[in-house]
Amino acid sequence: MRFVLRRLGFYAIAFWVSITLNFMLPRLMPGDPVSRMLTQSGARLEPDQVEQLRRLFGLDERPVVEQYLSYVASIFRGEMGVSISRFPTPVSEVISSQIGWTMLLGLTALVVAAVIGTVLGALAAWRRGGFLDSALPPVLVFVGSFPYFWLAMGALYLFGVTLGWFPLRHAFDVGVVPEWSAPFAANVATHLVLPALTIVLVSVGGWMLGMRNAMIATASEDYITMAEAKGLRRGRIMVRYAARNALLPSVTSFGMSLGFIVGGALLTEVVFAYPGVGYQLLASVQALDFPLMQGIFLTITAAVLIANFLVDLVYVRLDPRVRVS
């Protein structure tokens, strides 16, 4: 229990630091949203209209300290304000309408990559020098080091345009009404394949190498030799003795990645026109949309902290040593 409390205290401080940074960084950027909007649209407005827009968007002229205090207060009230680049839609609505797709894409890709990578890594380490161990890591690292944009465009062209196996864009067919039904789910799934596949391709190598290295280290531990001496089945030793211990670093990175998927897969969203917060974040930075930027950063921060906290808890289950120290 004390462990949990201590962790919670740590997270409270981390949260405060991140919301403060979140407040400061956008304000260090030059320009303001209204002039940004004018640049992007090329629209000319009368000076008094520009003033009117500034008032409408609630751009603050108050002292920074005052702005900061009301910002912190609004966070605790759960208010994220009104988006400027999507005025007058509230930030919470902009994020909530898209975060579902981001999570679906990110979670699918992450789970598939982590599971495949970890299993391959365990198998490769267990049969060191075998086919899996010698052929796969170089191939995966090679693929993983491709520029993502290039890989995604290539996959889109090959499987989407030339072969026509998968749809080219969007989360579901245009004209289909979202509903909880099997045909709609199938539609979403076909649209998910290419974007998720490209993310898996570039990330699976990392998971595999990480697991393989940890597995090799554990495989040379004394208790493995001991288990072999006892005459346990090879499979049991691999899974219950070696893999369980080698899994710890992978769990950590899984937790970290879990937090980051909320930030979205920017390039994936751009290439496949997949709705999501990643592109929204880029767009809000370009438009200097402070409230939306803060809202998305806050969501990411919260997700990373929560995911880390969960990982801490899982660690306690997986690794008895944490409980003791």
Partner: protein, 557 residues
Amino acid sequence: MARSAVSRRAALALAVTTAASVALGACTSGNASGTAAGAATKGALLTIPREDMGTFTRNFNPFSPNALPMTQQAIYERMFIYNPVKGEAVPWLAQTWETSKDGRTVTFHLNPAARWSDGKPLTAEDVAYTFSLQKKVMGGFDYLASAKAADAQTVQFTLSKPFSPALYELGQQVIVPKHVWEKVKDPAKETNPTPVGSGPYTTVAAFTPQSFDLTKNPNYWQAGKQNIPGIRMLAFAGNDPANLATTNGETDWADQFVPNIEKTFVAKDPAHRHYWFPPVGSTIHWQLNTTKAPYDDVRVRKALSTAVNRDQVVKVGMSGYAQPADCTGLSGGYNTWRDESVAGACSWTKFDVAAANAALDAAGLPKGGDGFRTLTDGKPWEVRISVGSASSDWLSVANVIAQNLAAVGVKARVDSKDWAVVVAGYEDGSFDTGIVWSNGGPTPYQYYRGVMSTETVKKAGEKATENYHRFGDAAADKALAAFAATSDESAQKQAASQLQRIYDETAPVVPLFSGPEWGLYNDVRFTGFPTQDNPYATLLTRGNTAVLVLTTVKPRA
């Protein structure tokens, strides 16, 4: 609202996607058929991509600066529509209009057939109410003293001073229904999810973040012009994915930038795929900060302008899609205003290295020992050219200028930063030189006002939102006032000629080229798009003339 096609598209060309354009260009030039919607399908919606919105947020409020595409084109309408290619106003909600002799009263006569999508008639009350609301919510129209409904079909605008450009601004304001908007508590923050408009396609049939469909207005007052079942807008997070859909034949009408358009788009189906880029967008400038030496000297401004090879700028920077500017600064949209006696005798917008060298020598900016020119006081001179890094086309324009300057011994450096930084420099007047858009509008008034009127010049240290180069001329003020005071066409032409002469004399900025009004279409499923031979509108999907296209195109028989 005047919009410059080039700057928008330029600003939106994300740096991240430029790398991919090469890849996509290679991809799409292959033999791609895939899921192309080749066959003419019955009941198909006119499909239009938007490359600058990764997702759509439901907001059909025409007063909002972020209203969804088609809000001001398909849902709400204007009293007339100005077509910049023909230079004429097409009667729309209003059948006729006139300005009183003293220039203080503008009267519009509405079409008695005009109706809202809920079946109620569109009257002068609605128009008068719209202007009071617009003034309250968004400001502007500071010259408008009152807007009154004289009778059901007659609206009378009283101006606080004679101001002839008002006609076009009043006529092109989109009109909203009073009976709906007077019930809205806070019109500025309204998202208007189910709009009641007078336009041809007002029914929101489907809405998701990635696309939305607008279908027929059940009570359209020009039902004979609703030839298509509706419009489908698609959201894309950048040019490349939008271009993939366009080159794949999945969109009918588009206006995003397509690199190498002949090869990537037209070549796949030359019989049906066409583009048309009339150079009627606003003039793009290379502005020199006239509060700084040596740019305060008109001889230097003209010399630098002479050093610029505009043909090369247009060819290299703008893929040949634009038209080089002349010494009136007027874009192709103002051809009827152009004074040939000025335009025919242009000197400082013609590329001439020898003349530029001579003029710079005469201005007291001699070449130093290293071959580069110095300032009059002998200090080294370096021209910094600011441009937003996201605008890849303007960036190459700036690079061409820098090379041109080197040829006359002027050291130049392209200073490409994020647009926010660049514009912040423009606004506070700390920039040196930079690439910039200009004001547009149906008459040259707004253009010249933004370029050389003293009232748009802000004092040093004050933030400017136009006339960033901070140049004002008293004679120009007089000519502008004369222009605004009369609604007589020949008197306006006279004032416009005077403005062109002053512009030619003072060279307030260095005009580079007229931005094209971008647009392309694929007439496999729909026919009747505007063309060079039938320029009834431009091909800009987000412009005022879009409604003319929407009420003209027909499904292919």
